[in-house]
């Protein structure tokens, strides 16, 4: 078929090429990975210690702990929801601890505790 190809202008058949997909996928995955590279390493430790402190006072069921991390451009939010066993009859006691941090080095985790 080469003899016929010769007379045809060589145009890529697909409008969106596979190389284009490659570039897009790389840009997305690498944006995430670069953000993760300078992610705070203290977060898992902070979470663990928070739990330990709470466990000192109340009996915490590890399965009733919910951890959520939200990454935004300007700030990240770490939300730790700990369900406490009911101290009073009937309604369960909940403690919510959340820390917000500014990007880069000026992290000053603010802790909020609220008993609902």
């Amino acid at each position: 078929m080469r003899i016929f190809d010769f007379f045809r202008p060589s145009k890529p058949k697909e409008t969106v090429t596979s190389a284009h997909h490659a570039k897009e996928r790389l840009q997305i995955v690498m944006a995430h990975e670069r953000a993760g590279r300078d992610a705070p390493d203290f977060l898992p430790l902070l979470q663990k210690e928070l739990l330990e402190v709470i466990a000192k006072y109340v009996d915490v069921d590890q399965n009733r702990v919910e951890v959520k991390l939200d990454r935004n451009n300007d700030f990240s939010t770490l939300e730790v929801n700990i369900e406490l066993p009911s101290s009073k009859k009937g309604e369960p006691l909940r403690i919510k601890a959340s820390t917000s941090r500014e990007p880069a080095s000026k992290d000053k985790p603010k802790e909020k505790e609220a008993v609902a």
């Binding site: 080469r2 010769f6 697909e14 090429t17 190389a19 570039k23 670069r34 590279r37």
Partner: protein
């Protein structure tokens, strides 16, 4: 004081050893006294690519362990003046590379050589870390392919965080991108990432683009660094890249498909 250059990539099989051999030979051909060191402990291969595999007596690990003197282990190239090879051990593992041991060898080499090229193993483990730790400059060898580009980015992160320069807060390691196994024909058809895409993603200066070439395998078969084959595109591209590294202003070649004549177009790709 010599410059320590690491040839690194994260991913394996992208052409680190081929490029190390080419650059070392290229520097030496231009009169710079150069040594190339194999950091891939246990998987020695630089000796084969440089064609000196039958002359290895002592190795890098012997020197680190004080079992031999540096000059006993350095192999002087037979074809090119000013070129020396420091092979690695084939029997030990990466744990033989201690930071103190490597540092001692580097300091000794720095006094004698203008360029010290560290041929890194693949991965981001101890061997690769040791190869990049003392670097002043890094050549990131990348193929125009997703996994290679991602791994290169990972290595750039390591250079910025875990090299000696980073740890001591000195000037950062100078980074260069060497794009290898580039196929301009496939790029033109949209089957391969083009050089601008890779540059946009990695955001480091381009040192050279080495076109995919059958001659690279042929050169490795006979143990001759590809840069000595000045007829091949790859050899010429390496020679250009060496020139650029040394500060010369050389235009990039082999990025676009070469114009083919009527004959070539009728009878297939040449």
């Amino acid at each position: 004081m010599g410059q320590i250059i690491v040839m690194t990539s994260g991913k394996g099989g992208v052409g680190k050893t081929t490029s190390s051999a080419a650059f070392a030979t290229g520097f030496a051909l231009r009169g710079h006294k150069t040594v190339v060191i194999d950091f891939d402990v246990g998987l020695r291969n630089l000796d084969l690519i440089m064609g000196c595999e039958r002359r290895v007596v002592f190795d890098f690990i012997n020197i680190i362990n004080g079992e031999a003197k540096l000059h006993q282990a350095l192999i002087k190239d037979k074809k090119v003046e000013n070129l020396y090879i420091l092979p690695t051990s084939q029997t030990r593992d990466k744990d033989a590379l201690t930071k103190e041991g490597v540092e001692k060898v580097m300091e000794e080499l720095r006094k004698e050589f203008e360029f010290i090229i560290c041929d890194s193993p693949a991965g981001i483990e101890k061997g690769a870390l040791m190869a990049l730790y003392f670097a002043d400059q890094a050549i990131i060898v990348t193929n125009p392919e997703v996994s290679s580009v991602r791994d290169s980015d990972r290595i750039l992160g390591m250079l910025a965080a875990r090299s000696r320069r980073a740890e001591l807060g000195l000037e950062p390691v100078v980074e260069h991108l060497l794009l290898t196994r580039y196929d301009p024909y496939r790029v033109e058809r949209g089957e391969m990432l083009n050089v601008d895409d890779v540059l946009e993603i990695l955001a480091i200066p381009l040192l050279g683009v080495i076109p995919e070439s059958k001659e690279v395998l042929r050169a490795s078969n006979v143990g001759m660094p590809i840069i000595l084959d000045d007829e091949s595109n790859a050899g010429q591209a390496y020679a250009d890249a060496v020139g650029r590294f040394l500060g010369e202003d050389i235009e990039h070649r082999f990025i676009k498909p070469q114009k083919r004549g009527l004959f070539a177009r009728l009878f297939g790709r040449m």
